[in-house]
Amino acid sequence: MSRKEKLFAMVRIGFAESLAYRGEFLIWFLTTNMPLVMMLLWMAVAKDGPVGRFGTREFAAYFLTTVVVRLLTGAWVAWQLTMEIRTGTLARRLLRPVHPFVAYACEQASALPLRALTVAPLVVIILLTLGTDLFSSELSHWVVFPLALAGALCIRLGVMMTIGSLALFWDSALSLYDAWLALFFVFSGYTIPLELFPAWIQPLVNWLPFRYMMSFPVEIVMGHLDGRQLLVAFVYQWGYALLFSVLALTIFRRGLKRYAAFGG
């Protein structure tokens, strides 16, 4: 088998796996309701008049798009990696002639069709109830949207693999991810559109990685960004993706040197 065929085979296995666990996936899909809870709150606020550029319909569009982005870019690698390290099943992965991170990435990629399929009804509902006028009408925005989604997913995978690799040194590395997630809730635009933050906090928000994992793709399809802002955000996004990937690989390599598997 050529290298390409092997990669393809791994993606196929991942796809079959994601089909087998469709029940779990559906539950996970249904538990992603934090943006909806926030949406109802902000819509109640906007009833007495818009907040900034957000009226009730804009809030609905914003948070529903957030759900779509979240479902398309969600991942489990942090939990998977820490569990495999703890139980020793990582040893089996290490025997294979492919880097475990590549295997994880393939699994992630192969779950995408199913994710897209589950998100499709939601997208239809959004368009039927809210119409299309709330979203960007510029073709270029829709062209770069998938790229922004990919960037968001890459940052998430990078962070998850970084923290997962830390489990090679520290048993409770997952609690670090929990703390990360709390920051993500605040600074990614997941619970509040970032532009509603007071002005003095905006530079921090733009500088942290969280915006590029969630808010950035949403801002694109809602047409909030001009060409220059778009470019700057992309540089930040892929810079962070690269940074976390390198960090994850380095920590993983270092950690493996002292890793003694538990049977597996």
């Binding site: 029940g23 779990e24 539950i27 249904l30 538990t31 992603t32 309701n33 934090m34 809870v37 926030m38 109802l40 709150l41 902000w42 109640a44 606020v45 009833k47 007495d48 907040v51 409770s172 609690s175 929990d178 703390a179 709390a182 920051l183 809730f185 605040v186 619970t191 509040i192 509603l196 933050f197 007071p198």
Partner: protein, 261 residues
């Protein structure tokens, strides 16, 4: 009296376990505080723009958030861990060891595990309520506090009853831990005053999954704004949920055939 002693024993076991994993305790407590702070940020931003939402002012909404946080502590500390444990026992067949003990099985399984660091949530939630009351400048009467505590107890009872009913599903379908996650995420909607929900959502949160009863009613009681009729309906709801849970539990135990642990 025997059951009280049993409860103390079970609690003692959980305390000993927590003492053994002190670092986990500290880390868990710290994370709890981070999450509470994270949940407050959107609310702070919101009320810097508006003085009231759906008739709730800042400090009044904060009372609801406080009760939400405290009840979440009860849920994650005293209800979910124990019942998650039972799901595992049903799967493995070791539930039999509980059933043959000479005490009520529902009592035993409900008290097997407490996550003690969740006390932090309860304390932080109560602290939020006290801060909110101080900010509002009006301290409730003793009667209002008593009524509020009664309603909080009812809320905890409803949560417990819902989890017992989810647990009963475990006797039929083995994989219900996911369902537990689903309910936990639905509970998230109780963090805002029920007044912000409208239409179908409002109906569901009042009558199907009575979230409004859990956090909004106790807050209203503390603000001395809860009508007698609503008080009675809240208590009746709790009673009905508790009875339903007991009936469901007894029926499940009766048809349980064990997995032969």
């Amino acid at each position: 009296m025997g059951y009280l002693r049993l409860l103390i024993q079970q609690l003692r076991m959980s305390i000993l376990l927590a003492l053994q994993y002190r670092l986990d305790f500290v880390v868990g407590a710290l994370l709890s505080l981070i999450w509470i702070a994270a949940a407050l940020v959107p609310l702070v931003v919101l009320f810097s723009q508006r003085s009231a939402v759906a008739g709730w002012r800042w400090h009044e909404a904060l009372i609801v958030v406080g009760f939400f946080t405290a009840l979440k502590g009860v849920l994650d500390g005293a209800i979910r861990p124990a019942l998650q444990d039972v799901v595992e026992r049903i799967r493995l067949g070791t539930l039999d060891y509980v059933l043959i003990k000479p005490a009520d099985a529902q009592f035993l399984v409900s008290t097997t595990r407490f996550e003690l660091f969740r006390v932090v949530d309860v304390v932080a939630g109560i602290a939020l309520v006290v801060i909110a009351l101080a900010y509002g400048g009006h301290w409730p009467s003793a009667a209002a506090i008593a009524l509020c505590l009664l309603l909080l107890f009812a809320a905890a009872l409803i949560l417990y009853a819902i989890w017992i009913m989810v647990l009963c599903l475990a006797f039929i379908a083995v994989k219900v831990d996911n369902l537990s996650f689903l309910f936990a995420s639905i509970y998230d909607a109780a963090r805002w005053p029920a007044g912000i929900y409208r239409g179908v959502v409002s109906f569901v949160f009042t009558f199907v999954i009575p979230l409004a009863v859990m956090t909004t009613y106790p807050a209203l009681a503390l603000l001395e704004r809860l009508s007698a009729q609503r008080t009675l309906s809240a208590l009746a709801t709790a009673l009905v949920f508790a009875l339903l849970a007991r009936v469901a539990w007894l029926a499940s135990i009766r048809r349980y055939t064990s997995a032969g642990g």
